[in-house]
Symmetry: C2
Subunit: 222 residues, 2 copies
């Protein structure tokens, strides 16, 4: 029987944690990218991420990179998949431990930094490394998860209309939903409450505004 291979045989790769961060802007699903400053792929758009440090936990690395590069803090991150890739020359072997998360659009956009941008998934630019693969994989996971969880509530701003929530779900699932069935199911989650305020957005009846009842445990479901 073969055993654990000889020590000379295994390699010493670099490990990164990279996050596919989703939001919805104008009913369209978007992902956050940051512009790389150094080689390789200097100047390219990439997912926020960093090399892991000695003694650092994977989750912590993903959270730290996100905080450093985007200012986002303390959001729910879920590990997605680990990708192995190989780059010629001195960069060598890289393992990407991919994470994904959802945030309200407003959580990042105020920071008007040219090196951070939301990209619509429907017209994504080329990304550095294998980040396009990571993003595609995260998008599939997102669509699958949303089927059986209240996960997408994490995408919402402070207050919102039910039509806006429906737009988020439709953007993620890529299909139209029935208004009455959607509202019934959403309210049955018992996570929303009415604010009493209304929002006027055109020459028509204004919509009631809602807020999340308990912002704490979102995304844990499922």
């Amino acid at each position: 029987m073969a055993t654990i291979s000889a020590e000379t045989d295994y390699i010493q790769p670099a490990v990164t944690a990279d996050t596919a961060l989703f939001s919805v802007r104008g009913g369209e699903l978007v992902a956050l990218t940051v512009r790389r400053e150094r080689e390789p792929f200097a100047g390219w758009w990439a997912l926020p991420g960093d090399y892991i440090r000695a003694e650092e936990a994977l989750d912590d690395c993903a959270a730290r990179a996100l905080a450093e590069q985007t200012g986002l803090d303390a959001i729910y991150l879920e590990q997605l998949y680990t990708f192995a890739s190989h780059y010629p020359g001195r960069w060598g072997r890289v393992f990407n431990v991919a994470y994904f998360a959802l945030v309200p659009f407003a959580a990042v956009s105020p920071r008007n930094d040219e090196n951070i941008a939301w990209q619509a998934l429907s017209r994504l630019p080329r990304l550095a490394f294998n980040h396009e693969d990571i993003l595609a994989s995260a998008r599939r996971r997102l669509a699958a998860k949303i089927e059986y969880s209240a996960l997408a509530l994490g995408l919402l701003p402070e207050v919102f209309t039910l039509a806006e929530v429906q737009a988020v779900y439709e953007a993620i699932k890529g299909e139209r939903l029935d208004k009455r069935n959607f509202r019934r199911a959403l309210l049955a989650l018992d996570q929303l409450e009415v604010t009493g305020e209304k929002r006027q957005s055109g020459a028509h009846r204004p919509a009631r505004l809602y807020r999340l009842r308990e912002p704490s445990n979102l995304g844990i479901i499922g």
Copy 2:
């Protein structure tokens, strides 16, 4: 804005692919373990796995380790989660990319090697490294996946009775299932066919034997 950290800052860890391999023996869920021959944890039971080699893909590494250590070949492996751990001394940082898979019990048991053993999950010995955590995580994934897929059909031998399939599902889910409902749902998957043979196993009516219709695409579902 902070950027990708300095090159001196990141570390060069070891990366392994380890597989939680499940089967069912006598209606009980079991996992395959191999005995470690070298330090650290020499003599302990561990999950089959190995350090990844230069240029090797993660999936290939998991498959190779499994083939070398157990003789199993060409089974469906699904990546589960990546764990980071740290061991004092010269072993340093290790990342375990965990996989999980299901096989018919007979696929491994004939090989009567003292250094390979199926362990009942209900009375698992201490395992090397963080392999108990990996196994616990894999068991949760298994239970979740089986809810909405035909995954557990991968656990079956060449031919089998419906009662045996039900025992597999009951072992994984940890609850009793209704015989009629189970059979109806199972046959509705349209993956089984009758062999025409029967199996006598006691002083009672013999059971019809079934086989898988298309052994190829199991586990892909869900």
